[in-house]
Chain length 146, copies 2
DNA sequence: CAATAAACTTGCATTTTGCAAGTGATAATA
DNA sequence: TATTATCACTTGCAAAATGCAAGTTTATTG
């Protein structure tokens, strides 16, 4: 089990204490930009995460309040992982990562392709659009529970 | 030795292949925002990086073209690590990390304190100011060599 | 009700991390 | 000039994390 420790009161190191590894942000990417929500879907990503690592990271994301785990009934996928506002707030971070990555490794690309294009031509609006879309979806979910 | 592998052509995963760990970005933080350049200075950071990890990460940063290692003479510090444009281009990523971290962990703070304040009140200008300052310093260094 | 599938868990070898101690080269000091 | 100190590491080793394959459990479909 990966243990959680706060190494300092630096916001950067605090953030890295949570997702400073090779896998966690890829799961967030899948949830936020690819609309994935099932365990199986995360397993299918190109980077081939190991199943025990995925289970571990999902539990950390849940414990840190970045995802909520929903139990469904009568469905093939029995659990669904949804982003919280705290995860949605990572969109600007990931957006800058995408731009940096593609600047220095130009043969990289995103799913969907329009994401990278959008960030290049109008970063602010692209970030805002994704943020609002996911926030709206989250609010609809919340309304249903009332 | 940590080995470098490209897990996919995703710009995010490509970026994480380089600095997807708990330490690398903290070294970049020290270089960029705290003006550190000597091995000893990195060792003194609050997070207490182990000396073998620091040596390993510096060699990776150098190999990936994020820092250049300068040999000095007649000085106390015999080697100095300077950021390349590729490292300077990480400023927006780190800036967003700072904002995210401080939003969800409000008792965190930055060195210098003005950095966090600046990002909160005028993100774009703060990023631009740091970028230009470091780029100018880099160019002065380059001129000297001509 | 048997077979399939989803979401894990377990076991184990390999790799990475963390900690302490040691080393070699240069620089300051007596 | 000899000695001491400092810097930038390297090495050794125990502990933790990762990667891979196989197994388990619960629900669902034919």
């Amino acid at each position: 089990m990966k243990k959680f420790t706060n190494r300092s009161l630096c916001p950067i190191s605090t953030a890295l204490d949570i997702f400073g590894d090779k896998w966690t942000l890829l799961i967030v990417r899948d949830i936020i930009f690819e609309g994935k929500s099932a365990y199986k879907e995360f397993m299918q990503s190109e980077e081939k995460i190991a199943t025990n690592i995925l289970a571990n990271r999902l539990s950390i994301l849940e414990a840190q309040g970045l995802v909520i785990k929903e139990k469904t009934t009568g469905n093939r996928s029995r659990y669904l992982y949804h982003p919280t506002p705290k995860a949605i707030a990572l969109i600007p971070v990931i957006a800058e990562l995408i731009l940096w990555g593609n600047t220095y490794y130009p043969d990289t690309y995103t799913h969907p392709e329009s994401l990278l294009a959008g960030l290049k031509t109008d970063k602010m609006n692209t970030i805002q659009a994704y943020t609002e879309k996911l926030t709206a979806r989250l609010n609809r979910k919340k309304d249903k529970l009332d």
